[in-house]
């Protein structure tokens, strides 16, 4: 009963570090228009400016931030717990099921609350709804499991 999709426990810490660092990068990228200088694709100068395909943003900083946040989150959710037995596997699957359901509820709520460009913006953030809801639910389940009272008389 080996789950080959899971990676060793130490990747949890690495995942959190990557996630947080790239969150900060993404935050500055979004609010302060921060761009890593020189980190971009240069195109040929005499591209037809009237072309319908208009590359407004050549800089790769925001793409880099999305990549980092996604890889960080995937590392966190796919890493094993310290003691990873079959009950943890059940909790993991239940949390995933729950997360998919909740993320669609959120998506439907957004569908009726936003429209136009803001709707598209929220859809971009929505790519992380499932991992984030999963993390919250899974860790909540683990905490509850830890707090459970033991009836451990010999």
């Amino acid at each position: 009963m080996k789950n080959s999709l899971l990676i060793p426990n130490k990747f949890k810490v690495i995942g959190w570090v990557i996630f947080l660092v790239f969150c900060i990068l993404g935050f500055f990228c979004l609010t302060k228009e921060f761009r890593i200088p020189g980190f971009q694709i240069y195109s040929l100068k005499n591209i037809n400016e009237n072309s319908p395909i208009n590359f407004a943003d050549y800089n790769l900083t925001n793409e880099f931030a999305i990549l980092g946040i996604t890889i960080g989150l995937l590392m966190i959710i796919f890493s094993k717990e310290r003691i990873d037995d079959e009950y943890i596997a059940v909790l993991r699957l239940k949390s995933l099921q729950w997360a998919v359901l909740v993320s669609y509820v959120i998506l439907l709520a957004i569908n009726f609350c936003f429209y136009g460009l803001s709707f598209l913006m929220i859809l971009v953030y929505n790519i992380w709804t499932i991992p984030i809801v999963f993390l919250a639910k899974f860790n909540y389940s683990l905490q509850r499991l830890k707090k459970e009272r033991f009836s451990d008389e010999k």
């Binding site: 003691i83 037995d85 079959e86 009950y87 943890i88 499991l145 459970e148 009836s151 451990d152 010999k154």
Partner: protein, 66 residues
């Protein structure tokens, strides 16, 4: 599904933690199995049976509705 792991532990005089170590799961898992919240896999049930040196049917028992 009912189980009498608590009784079997008492007979063998081991704690939940010791049983957990013997079959390589967490103590919490043993606790959820004992309280009937979680039905273990066949692998785990057989491992427990080996620890207690009893057939699986003596530890686990079907109940109405299963």
């Amino acid at each position: 599904m009912k189980n009498n792991i608590r009784v079997q532990r008492a007979i063998k005089n081991i704690t939940q933690a010791e049983l957990a170590d013997l079959i390589q799961v967490s103590r919490q898992t043993i606790n959820t199995i004992e309280s009937g919240k979680y039905v273990p896999s066949t692998v785990l049930a057989l491992k427990m049976a080996r620890v207690f040196n009893k057939p699986v049917e003596e530890i686990f028992d079907l109940e109405e509705g299963d």
